[in-house]
Amino acid sequence: MNDSGTRDWKSLLLRHEMLLLYVLVAEWLFFYFAGTTTNRRGVIVGFGTVDRQFDILRHSCEIGLLALALTPVILTAGIDLSVGSLLGLCAILFGKFWHDAGMAIPVAAALALACGALGGALNATLITALRLPPLIVTLGTYSLFRGLAEAITRGAITYTDFPAGFLFVGQERWLGLPTQAWIFFLVASGVWVLVHRTTFGRSFRAIGFAPEGARYAGLPVERRLALAYVLAGLIAALAAIIYTARLGQAKADAGTGYELFAITAVVLGGTSIFGGTGSVHGTLLGVAAIAVLKNGLACLPVVMRMNAAEEMSGLLTGALLLLALTGSVLPRLWSQWRAHRSAAALPSPKPHTPT
């Protein structure tokens, strides 16, 4: 009891987010030393360059946004598998509004955002009004949105030729950072405040812990759930616009598989897939850990020679997630084991050790 001060300090250091931060730093240092070289012309190349750090930031914005979108949803013990497909649909709609309907870029973007929110609202309606499980609903809209995107373009049309002013958002730097990074940070701050500093955030957690309890406590459960899904749709549309600006093209396959990376980042960031606990900063760390791993691997000479950067990053992202999950339950198992041992007092013959 008297050392409760050090306990707190210790538990802070062993918090999931802190552990993840250590992993991130270790990852970064490893790639810094193993993935940086001097090339033939005497230029320093590879992971340890400023350009590379900007590339990492640039490449993680879209998946990062989806992970931010998913954090409130998963906090409510829900899931949204449709965000990647919605990204694709909104990218196509944005391209269509601009190219075929001749709208100005800001108008097309605003309309695309509205469509994203509508897509989210469709999820929200099916989940709250019909009380259908989010997994099934969004599995449906996952196919629906992608199918719509493919139907609109007949799988063949790609919208390109966007004006330079728009491409600036995805390809250039503004105030020293990739332009889209500012948007990403803005959204991240917004979602952080929503989740950690408002009653909305508290109600997301409460719903995740016990939806019936939240209802009896007088929380407008349906409205809060709807908010989480509509917000997810809106952010997915924003990610679509950034994606289009980064590549200078909108195609129906935009964002394929992104939802899985985003979910991985959220769970890696310490948000329980069963809802109730988690944090936005954890999600951001999760996104960073995956992005650094993916980019760093591509710098390793060994991986380069095998031409297997993509496969390796998939494999190691999976391994990292499983490791993080195992790591997050270890302290609990450890304290259970200790409690068990002290309760059994002296010669407990065979304590139940994990593994």
Partner: protein
Amino acid sequence: MKSLLRLALAAGLLLTGTLGASAAASSKLVVAFLPKSKGNAYFISCKAGAEKAAKELGVELLFDGPTDSNAAKQNEIVENWITLGVDVIAVAAENKEGISTALRKAQKAGIKVVTYDADSMPDSRSFFVNQATPEGIGHALMDDAARLLNGEGEFAIITASLTAANQREWQKHIEARLKEKYPKMKIVAVRPCDDLKDKAQSEATALMSANPNLKLIMAICSPGVPGAAEAVKQAGKTGKVKVIGLGLPNENKRYVHEGVTDTVILWNTGDLGYLTIYAGVALAKGELKPGAKSFKAGTLGTFAIAGDHILLGKPFAFNKGNIDQFNF
């Protein structure tokens, strides 16, 4: 706990050392070769030629690409290569405009860029290694048809759709060649198959019953060739109505061996990879400059350059004698 940490740190450093060391050793020119998708047999056969060239030139070859044809991933791979400081990037563009932003960035970083198979925007690369000009394809097909019919008789064309840009261009050159050199031959019909094998088969069947004097079917889209061959085979007209066309060796092997299809025309993909690497390396060494009129690529000899297109030259004819050497 502490000792464990120290152990982990030591292991990490050791691993770092071993992995890092191999990179510094590379003082060779590094050429990065990007296919549309790396599992595609077509590009794997390009890679074989690229590897041969890299070996002859003593350069290091990196081969990486999306596992599926994904334009976004192509950009990410190019951006990765830029920060890795490779010397040459050779690209088969999945999306012309999308990839160009990344390629311009590479050029700004002092990397030489060539494209092959599918071009990017002209300002984003130095040269495009053009595997076949429409004229080359049109002439090869027409000449082969004339060879099989001894310059005389009726034939029909199966195309993708009546509006497809590539096919119309080829057809234009086929017709021009016909007019110029083979006055006794005649195109009796041009039918679209919508790039579907089934449709090509029914179109070919209809063509044969409507034109009893039909001697040959020329399919100028890849599903059309096996489709037409299947129709001829089922009609029992093998040898009486010949089939030629533009397509991939694998889907036509069976019909070529059965004697239904005589020639499948495409280009030699290995040579395409080989020429691309030679061009990229010559560019990096300053031996190949914009405005050059021809270019010598190792054992393959000299190639003509038209503007900023390096021409692979005549299409390659796959027939009974050589088709088994190719797998794509």
